[in-house]
């Protein structure tokens, strides 16, 4: 779960003396939204984002309804005029959990990843985080999702794991929501099988209740920001 395993290691950078139009074109070509700026020793200086560019250009230019004079007037606008100096960055040894919390806190779309010498090692975007969570949830593998309501006491999860293991079914992922209802938690178990009839019966026979899928998610999740 370290950033180094999930970041993009080939980073497209831009020169601070490049024009804003060049940066804009580079982003369009590479389908990216963040361009770090580094010095001659590959140390991170700044970052420019597509939002910085949109804010810097008049509406007519973004819409393509500009005149040649309008564009000519902006030709001297450089990346260095609009870039964010010393941007928030993360380390390759930070974890994905760190990155999630930081992205929420700083409301950014990507972090440059730098080592202790400030050298640019990679970039981690929200898109990379999403990919890593798709992997963790295993939802690219075929399976069936169950939701079991369990009492808040020791040993409940073990009973479920034992029952599922007895049936020879592999786990895709297990998520626990601790704030479902008082003294209860909801366990979402993604099982890598099409055949859940017997295991559902066994779980019910142990005294657990299977939740109606339509009462899952949004309404019951805690609203803590």
């Amino acid at each position: 779960m370290f950033v180094s395993n999930h970041m993009k290691k080939t980073v497209i950078t831009v020169d601070q003396d490049a024009s804003v139009f060049e940066a804009q074109q580079l982003m369009a070509e590479k389908q990216i939204r963040h361009l770090p700026i580094v010095d001659a020793e590959n140390r991170l200086l700044a970052i420019v984002t597509d939002r910085d560019i949109r804010s810097a250009l008049p509406y007519t230019l973004l819409k393509g309804s500009h005149t040649d004079e309008e564009k000519a007037g902006l030709i001297d606008l450089k990346v260095k005029n609009i870039m964010t100096l010393d941007p928030k960055s993360i380390s390759p040894m930070d974890t994905i959990q760190d990155a999630l919390l930081l992205i929420q806190q700083h409301k950014v779309g990507a972090f440059p990843v730098i080592n202790e010498k400030k050298e640019l090692m990679g970039i981690l975007s929200v898109r990379d985080l999403l990919s890593s969570f798709i992997n963790v949830l295993n939802i690219n593998e075929p399976g069936t999702l169950l939701c079991v309501l369990v009492e808040e006491k020791v040993g409940q999860l073990k009973k479920l794991v034992d029952t599922i293991t007895e049936e020879g079914i592999s786990f895709g992922s297990v998520l626990v929501n601790r704030h479902w209802e008082e003294d209860k938690r909801a366990v979402f178990i993604y099982l890598l099988t099409n055949n859940v009839v017997r295991v559902k019966k066994k779980i019910t026979a142990l005294g657990f209740s299977l939740l109606d899928p339509m009462s899952w998610y949004i309404d019951n999740l805690s609203q803590k920001e």
Partner: protein, 316 residues
């Protein structure tokens, strides 16, 4: 009354999935009992299976996969590719007979000996990928049938309508780049149900963009949503595509009494759905419809569901 074929072969029973598996040979016996109970057996053209020629299976499946399947069956293993896929020594032969029986059925229809047909085969097929067994499926029966119609009989446009409660991932993937085969599936939402594919934004890729359509049903939903989606999604899509033949992946597991899903479709709604498909077949392809069994695991409900299904094919 239509001339309806009924593919039924006792050798499909030889595919033994062992104890506690939902996809059992009892399903085919339940289907047979239901059709017999309706008193319509004498009106049906009974078809027994011949073994498929390997070359037709290779129109869809990777030769290495086919060999792997044969070897694992003969070696006495009891699962293939995934613990879900329980097999026996005879599974490989049953799978060849399933494909062969359906291709024989196609020949009968294309030579005007029958109008339409129901193929009660095992193992089922719609989860099988070109190089992977999945969800109790080994050969993708319906995909091979579509290719056979195109290559042997010169049919250009085939529509596959998949009413099994699970998404037919194999069928979709095999044809997702192909504009000559339209794939429609109505199934339980993939965030809840196997195999986790068939989201509504999966619409085909490259040249096949727009020739895949998925209609999603949430757990607990039933007839009302099916009426709405079949009329709102399936009918316009088929009317636009104008197929020359319609193939149906018939699963009965969306029934409210089938424990394999959380979907609550009634027996009446199943009949309405099949009648709607037959009406589409009449409008576009002279009633050339072949229905191929996929899932459906309630041994109590299968007789009535299969009986009604075949009565609708017979138009009796």
């Amino acid at each position: 009354m239509k001339r309806t074929g009924y593919l039924h072969d006792n050798r499909y029973i030889l595919h033994d999935t062992g104890p506690h598996h939902p996809e059992t040979s009892d399903r085919l016996l339940a289907v047979y009992e239901g059709i017999k109970e309706e008193g319509i057996l004498e009106h049906l053209t009974m078809i027994s299976a011949s073994r498929a020629d390997l070359k037709w299976i290779e129109t869809v499946h990777d030769p290495v996969y086919i060999r792997r399947f044969e070897e694992i069956c003969l070696s006495g293993h009891n699962t293939f590719d995934d613990p879900d896929n329980c097999i026996s020594m005879d599974t490989y032969e049953s799978a060849f007979l399933a494909v062969g029986g359906i291709l024989d059925t196609v020949d009968l229809m294309m030579t005007d000996k029958i109008d339409n047909a129901f193929c009660a085969v095992r193992p089922p097929g719609h989860h099988a990928e070109k190089d992977k067994a999945m969800g109790f499926c080994y050969f993708n029966n319906i995909a091979i049938t579509a290719r056979y119609l195109q290559e042997k009989w010169g049919i250009e446009k085939v529509a596959i309508i998949d009413i099994d409660v699970h998404h037919g991932n194999g069928t979709q993937h095999i044809f997702e780049q192909d504009a000559s085969v339209f794939y429609y599936s109505i199934h339980e939402h993939p965030s809840f149900a196997y195999p986790g594919t068939g989201r509504d934004f999966e619409v085909g890729t490259l040249g096949g963009h727009g020739f895949t359509k998925n209609s999603l049903v949430l757990p607990g939903q039933g007839d009302d949503v099916y009426y709405m989606l079949i009329q709102g999604d399936l009918m316009p899509a088929i009317n636009k595509f104008e197929p020359e033949v319609i193939l149906v992946s018939t699963g009965f597991d969306a029934h409210r009494d089938d424990e394999m899903s959380d979907i609550k479709v009634s027996t009446q709604c199943f009949s309405w759905m099949m009648q709607t498909i037959m009406d589409l077949g009449e409008r576009h392809c002279d009633g050339r419809v072949i229905s191929i069994l996929e899932g459906g695991y309630s041994l109590q409900r299968l007789p009535e569901l299969a009986g009604n299904h075949v009565k609708i094919l017979l138009d009796s």
